[in-house]
Symmetry: C2
Subunit: 191 residues, 2 copies
DNA sequence: ATTGAAATGAGACGAATGTCTCATTACCTC
DNA sequence: GAGGTAATGAGACATTCGTCTCATTTCAAT
């Protein structure tokens, strides 16, 4: 079992990595060690590479659980999905640098790698958003809808908006709201 | 002006980089030089880094021009957008490795970098697809539609499907077709 | 064939990366 | 407080990356 000191050292490294990334750099493990006030050798004892630190630091970004996320909102699926999108959008903005680096990790992983694939934090939230209105949708359409929404919600959507479309934040939110409404409506059974 | 020999060397390096990337590696400039049968020094004379070679190699991936892409297809906007998506999807599959590396380049570029941002190949195609039916749409909705479609068409969409949703190719195409239909319909003025 | 310039190859060099060893420090138990 | 173990720091070492120099090769024009 790791000692208190070891736990603290590990945390210091993760915190230091977060600080450096937020500052806009892509730090080496040596720089992370210096920021954390530990020696280079110690840093290499805890993490094999700077990428490993960054990847783990990004995981720390908290996604709210469905319970609190949907508190005080009705059953309207579009409104609930929009709340998911707003939350994820805010998170993407607040941690853009870390998330970009995490995305890079996923993009470069070997196709046959034994390491676990990207974790998927958005699908559970999307499903929770649609759950109360499940009966309003045609089953086949619901299967399409929950996947289609994943293209608009999350880090990749931020990348498309900023790097490809080069639109500002308000515009991106507007486009996504419009699309979410359109997709949710399209999935509803004609009533 | 560059001599024929220089042009050939440059091309050899780009070809070599493409071969190595397709083999699944993330080659260093030294490895690219070896594959191209030139010395390391020569490789550094033509490109400042392996990333630069890879980025330029990715640009070579040909996107068809609208003229030929829409040959023999009617004015129906959904059908035309679907053809854009099918084409881009095929391209993404055929050049997945190169495109992943190109995406990494874009993700890591400095926010205030002087280098040109990501080139956007999909928007002109989307606009060309919607052009003949422009009158069918409400102007405000058209502005949203052309941007919303960009989230489904292109490399990032492939990443979401494979890495995040972990769905197979046929399923991805199905979801995207459904979403494209839904979005195009939603943008039409009630008639 | 000869000449001259462009392109190349071989290798030295400094910086950064990752691994390893060994002495020293900090912490826990008694 | 003393002793033992875990954690750390300092630095040596091999490797890779990017830059540079200089001798050699290739090519085109005569």
């Amino acid at each position: 079992m790791p000692s208190n000191r070891a736990i603290r050292t590990r945390k210091d490294l993760l915190d230091a990595a977060g600080r450096l990334v937020r500052k806009g750099t892509t730090p080496s493990l040596e720089e992370i060690a210096a920021e954390a006030l530990v020696s280079r050798a110690t840093a290499y004892r805890y993490f094999p590479s700077a990428e490993a630190v960054l990847a783990e630091a990004a995981v720390e970004i908290g996604v709210p659980d469905p319970k609190t996320l949907f508190a005080g909102i009705g059953d309207d699926p579009a409104a609930r999905v929009e709340r998911v999108d707003t939350t994820m959008h805010d998170l993407s903005l607040a941690h853009e640098a870390e998330l970009r680096l995490m995305l890079v990790q996923g993009l470069l992983r070997k196709p046959d790698s034994a390491v676990p694939a990207r974790q998927n934090r958005r699908t559970p939230l999307i499903d929770a958003a649609l759950e109360p209105a499940r009966r309003q949708f045609k089953p086949a359409a619901l299967a399409n809808l929950r996947r289609a929404l994943a293209f608009f919600i999350g880090t990749e959507a931020m990348i498309v908006a900023k790097d490809v479309l080069a639109i500002d934040d308000a515009e991106a939110r507007k486009v996504k709201r419009w699309a979410i409404r359109a997709l949710v409506e399209a999935a509803k059974s004609r009533s």
